[in-house]
């Protein structure tokens, strides 16, 4: 049974959430007969244990200083883990790291990579991947001509498993480290106030139809009067400089799946939908009843947001 290798990631808070989603996907594939689940993390022994608790059967640790380095620095460790585990499936996140590491690893091993994958299944012992294409207008299903079958997984596509501290497994250190010709001079975190967009239960999102940057202040006001809410934006709004790109929702931005997504003056282009279609409930405020966003909504107000929003903020405040 060749098995699966998960490339886990860390962030400033520890093991990054995508790692647990990857393990969730890997366990599902393992249950379909894909073999054992190994994980690689550029991190500590304690972090390796967390991966075991969340579903890994064994963990390879690479030097923690490799985290945050360009992808080619991690490439030798990934190759070593792949060789030692004998895995023929490699799963990583569609993240800043995975976007680079996935194709680099695939081309190095002369095999394909399915990017931004939303669903995986095993058929006759081979992987079949579903991903969106044409900005979300189409779905494509792929198989691989050769091994390993490399995948980057879209965030929120799989649920993480509950941690089970009783799970155990081997933790092996790998000391392969690559030299990257790319030298990191500095990294700047996007300013974050309050709760992370990806973790919010309610997302209030604004688009080009807002007309100007100051409208986002009203969106923030609405978010503040609701529990666990954050503000996001369409790319059109971000490109206009109205809101930071780190808070862009969509194909080339964040993937969110809140319980409630309120789209204000967003038309619902397929590339925007790609980042929020997993929302449990969508609400639109839009002038255009025929817009895509209205069609996928549970509730919609067809009117000028400038008149609706202040009243909505008032009404919400009165509720609580």
């Amino acid at each position: 049974m060749p098995g699966i290798l998960v490339i886990a990631e860390t962030n400033e808070d520890g093991v990054a959430p995508i790692s647990f989603e990857l393990l969730g996907a890997a366990r599902e594939l393992s249950g379909q007969g894909a073999g054992d689940v190994a994980a690689l993390i550029a991190g500590s022994e304690a972090q390796a244990k967390e991966l075991l608790a969340h579903g890994a059967d064994s963990v390879y640790t690479a030097n923690g200083t490799l985290a945050g380095q360009p992808a080619d620095a991690l490439l030798p460790a990934a190759e070593a883990a792949l060789q030692q585990s004998g895995a023929d499936v490699v799963l990583m996140g569609q993240t800043s790291l995975g976007r680079d590491l996935g194709p680099a690893l695939a081309f190095r091993l002369k095999t394909g990579v399915s990017m931004d994958t939303v669903e995986l299944k095993l058929e006759g012992g081979r992987l079949r991947a579903t991903r969106s294409a044409y900005g979300g207008n189409a779905r494509a299903e792929h198989t691989w001509k050769s091994n390993p079958q490399v995948v980057t997984l879209k965030a929120k596509s799989y649920d993480p498993l509950e941690a089970d501290a009783g799970r155990s497994g081997n933790v092996t250190a790998i000391d392969a480290a690559g030299e990257s010709k790319v030298k990191v001079l500095g990294t700047e975190k996007a300013e974050s106030t309050g709760i992370r967009l990806e973790d919010a239960a309610i997302v209030i999102a604004g688009g080009r139809g807002l007309g100007d940057a100051s409208a986002f202040e009203s969106l923030e006001q609405l978010a503040k009067s609701l529990p666990n809410a954050a503000v996001g934006a369409s790319r059109a709004a971000c490109d206009l400089g109205w809101y930071p790109p780190a808070l862009q929702v969509g194909l080339t931005g964040k993937t969110v799946s809140p319980n409630l997504y309120v789209a204000i003056a967003i038309s619902g282009a397929s590339q925007h939908m790609a980042g929020m279609a997993g929302s449990k409930n969508i609400v639109s405020i839009n002038k255009d009843a025929d817009s895509n966003m209205v069609k996928v909504s549970k509730f919609a107000i067809i009117d000028d947001y400038k008149k609706v929003l202040p009243a909505l903020i008032e009404a919400v405040k009165k509720l609580s």
């Binding site: 194709p103 081309f107 207008n137 189409a138 779905r139 010709k181 790319v182 107000i301 009117d303 008032e314």
Partner: protein, 267 residues
């Protein structure tokens, strides 16, 4: 500074879902009536980056390469009208159904044939398959460093300083040339070719290279040899169950919405 820019012609990515059709049996997109193909939106931004670097550097040649059908000449012409110097169209019947991986192989061979370059610029992804693998692929094949998702590039002696967009912020890196850099939309708007430049571009040469010209064998391209075979292509179904909130005034609608959201325990 000699720069190679890779541009791809694709179906308009802003094609509304209502006009988007797929031939499921052929696993192909059916071109939408009256919507012309366009240059992949990130690629003019790559061309813009090339022009600014060349002008800041005070010279050099910008060569534009596109792999595609005869119509992809328009994507090259667009870059030439923006100010690039020469074009190469990689066109061969065997390229029909080529995948992103095979494209990287063919582009690498064409880039080697062009020869002298300090920098290869591409888009962060092509907005047809939304894969974003060609820059890394060409990097692996040619053994060049790759910096992806760039929003700004500055040239220093023998190296480039590149600002990248990360999931949660920005990063500044330094990379020695020759290198590959892929450009993201945060780079900003590319210039729009003026009529005079479009006329001038008509005189610039566009060479056509076949698979044989760049040494790509028939067994390296085409759907039958795909690295990631396409098994199915379809349009996902969307069902609409929207409830339009009624009311005489926008304020009344807002109040009704708040109540409905509360009743549904969503707020």
């Amino acid at each position: 500074m000699n720069i190679i820019v890779c541009v791809k012609q694709i179906p308009d990515p802003e094609t509304p879902a209502s006009s988007f059709r797929v031939d499921e049996a052929a696993k192909k997109v059916i071109p939408a009536q009256g919507i012309a193909p366009v240059v992949n939106p990130y690629d003019p931004q790559a061309t813009e980056a090339a022009l600014r670097l060349r002008d800041a550097d005070g010279g050099g040649k910008i060569t534009v390469i596109s792999l595609g059908p005869e119509s992809a000449r328009d994507a090259i012409k667009h870059a030439l009208a923006m100010g690039a110097d020469e074009g190469v169209l990689l066109n061969d019947p065997s390229f029909a159904g080529i995948d992103n991986f095979q494209t990287a192989v063919a582009l690498s061979k064409a880039i080697e044939k062009v020869g002298e370059y300090d920098l290869i610029l591409m888009g962060r992804a092509s907005a047809d398959w939304d894969m974003g693998v060609v820059p890394a692929g060409v990097g692996q094949i040619l053994g060049l460093p790759v910096v992806t998702v760039a929003k700004a590039i500055e040239k220093n002696d023998g190296s480039l300083k590149v600002e990248r967009v990360l999931d949660d912020g920005f990063q500044t890196v330094e990379v020695p040339t020759p290198a590959i850099v892929s450009i993201s939309n945060e780079f900003g708007e590319p210039r729009y070719p003026q009529l005079r430049q479009i006329m001038l571009a008509a005189k610039k040469t566009v060479q056509i290279w076949s698979a044989a010209d760049i040494g790509v064998g028939a067994d390296e391209v085409g759907a039958a040899n795909s690295w990631l075979p396409l098994e199915a292509l379809y349009v996902p179904k969307v069902v609409s169950n929207v409830e339009i909130i009624e009311g005489d005034t926008p304020e009344e609608k807002a109040r009704t919405l708040a109540q409905k959201l509360r009743a549904a325990k969503l707020i």
